[in-house]
């Protein structure tokens, strides 16, 4: 069984924010919510690095563990989905998530948090996919059910962001690293062979 993953190659990401725009447009994400964002570290300094980040679809996801109403499901493909029909907007997944994926639109009668929204790996909700308007409004486009991969990765101009089966993605990335050849680019190389 495939294990769906995102991988962002920091050596390739040019911070064009194309993935952010593609996601926002494809799913018509509510105002104030960004399912994906690009973070630039050491911005403006030599060696700055950009990374596109969204829900990482963790194995043993913290959001799933802390949810008081147990609204999260991990699909057979390893995609973490949440049921917006159950969500009460308590904010605990937002406290627990290391990647800042869960966000809340401001709505509802008392001005409290609305139903949580996060990246669905373009796979809709945990309910049976029916590609209906109601499903689209709730979770955005269900591209996985249409046999397509997440749009952010599909749209990435430098192919920095790749999405799909974890094994295949790892192969693509490994090949890239080998072809680049420069050893210091390999994660941990200097720790293993040069440091101390």
């Amino acid at each position: 069984m495939a294990r769906m993953k995102f991988l962002c190659d920091a050596e390739r990401c040019i911070e064009c924010n194309g993935c952010v725009t593609a996601c926002k447009n494809e799913h018509e994400v509510p105002w104030g919510v960004n399912r994906r964002r690009v973070v630039t570290l050491d911005d403006g300094k030599p060696g700055e690095k950009s990374i596109s980040v969204a829900c990482m679809h963790c194995t043993d996801a913290p959001c799933q563990a802390v949810c008081p109403v147990d609204c999260f499901t991990t699909t057979d493909d390893g995609i973490v989905l949440h049921d917006k029909g159950l969500c009460i907007g308590c904010g605990y997944c937002f406290y627990a998530c290391p990647f800042g994926a869960p966000q809340y639109p401001q709505q509802s009668s008392f001005g409290a948090r609305g139903k949580m929204d996060k990246c669905t790996f373009c796979a809709g909700g945990p309910e049976e996919a029916d590609l209906s308007d109601a499903e689209y409004e709730k979770y955005g486009r269900n591209r996985i059910a249409e046999g397509k991969l997440p749009l952010c990765a599909e749209m990435c101009s430098t192919r920095a962001l790749i999405a799909g089966d974890g094994d295949e993605i790892a192969d693509i990335y490994r090949e890239r690293v080998l072809r680049r050849g420069g050893r210091p680019q390999t994660w941990g190389w200097d720790t293993a062979y040069t440091e101390g």
Partner: protein
């Protein structure tokens, strides 16, 4: 080369090889004796900036992002993992048992010790103990407390206890009601706590009588009645617990709910802890809120027991505002004597406050003489 010289060379050569074969492997010990520093290369320039760079990112380094949103620039925030561990472990798994333990202790106490009865039969004479305002504030706060405890516990352990009973959809409906009620009743409760502190702090200043009360263990186990003024030592402890735990729970609750309501923390309040509104502070506020309220709820069971089933004649004080003189003499002897000296005892059949009836008693002969 003479054969003798050849033999000598072979012999020495073999001996040298043998000797070195034993000694050379021990060379590694020289590192031990000289110290690792003597052999280490200069590692300063050799640290890979990249690997350690990413390691720092895992500790919550802040970057730039075009996306606007709170802490959007933080790639990885490690605080949530610690919060999750504490919440799932200590808070959700162990602390609620404190309430169960308290309940069992109270039940055993009641079965073994029995109700704390009045020693003397009721004469019908009464003393005013709580004003209308006192009672209103008490009951609004008490009812809010129970609602907040039930809804709060639903959100903490409902997933474990209620989902098997109600199903996910049924429980989600209840949880939605719970969180809304909790957020709306919370501010009401906050007002109640503040009023309680303002109204009753004057009665609850600790004094030497309380020490005597504590030395006798409040008479809980001995059936004795240690001395007490208007409030006994135990009641004072409860008051200060309500004050401190109440303020802590209300403050942390407001901090968790403020961002959801889109309320910014005012500048004058920024010196207070937990007011930054960041994820880390909400995690901390959540932990303080849960720990304090669970401990408080367990102790509150004791207060509820003592005030109702545990002590004969105690409940009517907060229900009607009046207590019997027998109850006052037994539990608050110094207060009783004080009021007796002031002539504030209401005789049976009298419904007026004692001071007014005393005035009438004084004025009556005057009218009669006219």
């Amino acid at each position: 080369m003479s054969p003798a010289r050849k033999r000598r060379l072979t012999t020495y050569g073999l001996l040298a090889i043998l000797g070195l074969a034993f000694i050379l492997p021990l060379g590694g010990y020289s590192v031990h004796f000289l110290g690792a520093d003597a052999l280490a290369q200069d590692a300063g320039s050799a640290v890979n900036p990249r690997s350690n760079y990413w390691r720092a990112v895992a500790d919550g380094v802040n970057g730039y992002t075009a996306v606007t949103g709170q802490e959007a620039g933080v790639l990885i925030a490690p605080g949530g993992t610690r919060w999750q561990a504490l919440r799932e472990g200590t808070i959700a798994r162990y602390l609620p048992w404190g309430m169960v333990g308290m309940f069992v202790i109270i039940l055993l106490y009641h079965l073994i010790h029995g109700r704390n009865r009045l020693d003397e039969p009721r004469s019908g004479r009464r003393i005013k103990r709580w004003s209308w305002l006192d009672r209103t504030v008490h009951w609004i706060t008490a009812i809010s407390f129970i609602i907040l405890a039930v809804t709060g516990l639903s959100m903490l352990i409902g997933r474990t206890l209620l989902i098997p009973l109600l199903g996910k959809a049924g429980f989600a409906t209840w949880a939605q009601v719970s969180i809304t009620v909790h957020n709306v009743i919370g501010p009401v409760f906050t007002v109640g706590i503040i009023l309680m502190i303002v109204l009753w702090i004057w009665y609850n200043i600790p004094n030497a009588t309380d020490l005597k009360w504590f030395k006798q263990g409040g008479g809980l186990l001995t059936r004795s009645h240690p001395p007490a003024g208007r409030m006994n030592g135990g009641e004072k402890i409860w008051f200060w617990l309500v004050a401190v735990a109440g303020l802590a729970v209300c403050l942390t609750g407001l901090i968790m709910v403020a961002p959801a309501y889109g309320i910014a923390i005012p500048a004058w309040a920024e010196f207070l802890p937990f007011t930054e509104g960041s994820r880390v502070q909400m995690q901390q506020a959540n932990m303080v809120h849960a720990v304090v309220s669970l401990v408080w709820a367990a102790i509150a069971l004791g207060h509820i027991y003592i005030g109702t089933a545990g002590t004969e004649g105690a409940f009517e004080g907060m229900a009607t505002g009046y207590v019997s003189t027998e109850w006052a003499k037994q539990h608050h002897d110094q207060w009783y004597e004080e009021l007796q000296a002031k002539g504030k005892i209401i005789e049976p059949g009298e419904s007026h406050s004692p001071s007014r009836s005393a005035n009438q008693a004084r004025s009556r002969p005057a009218t009669a003489s006219r």
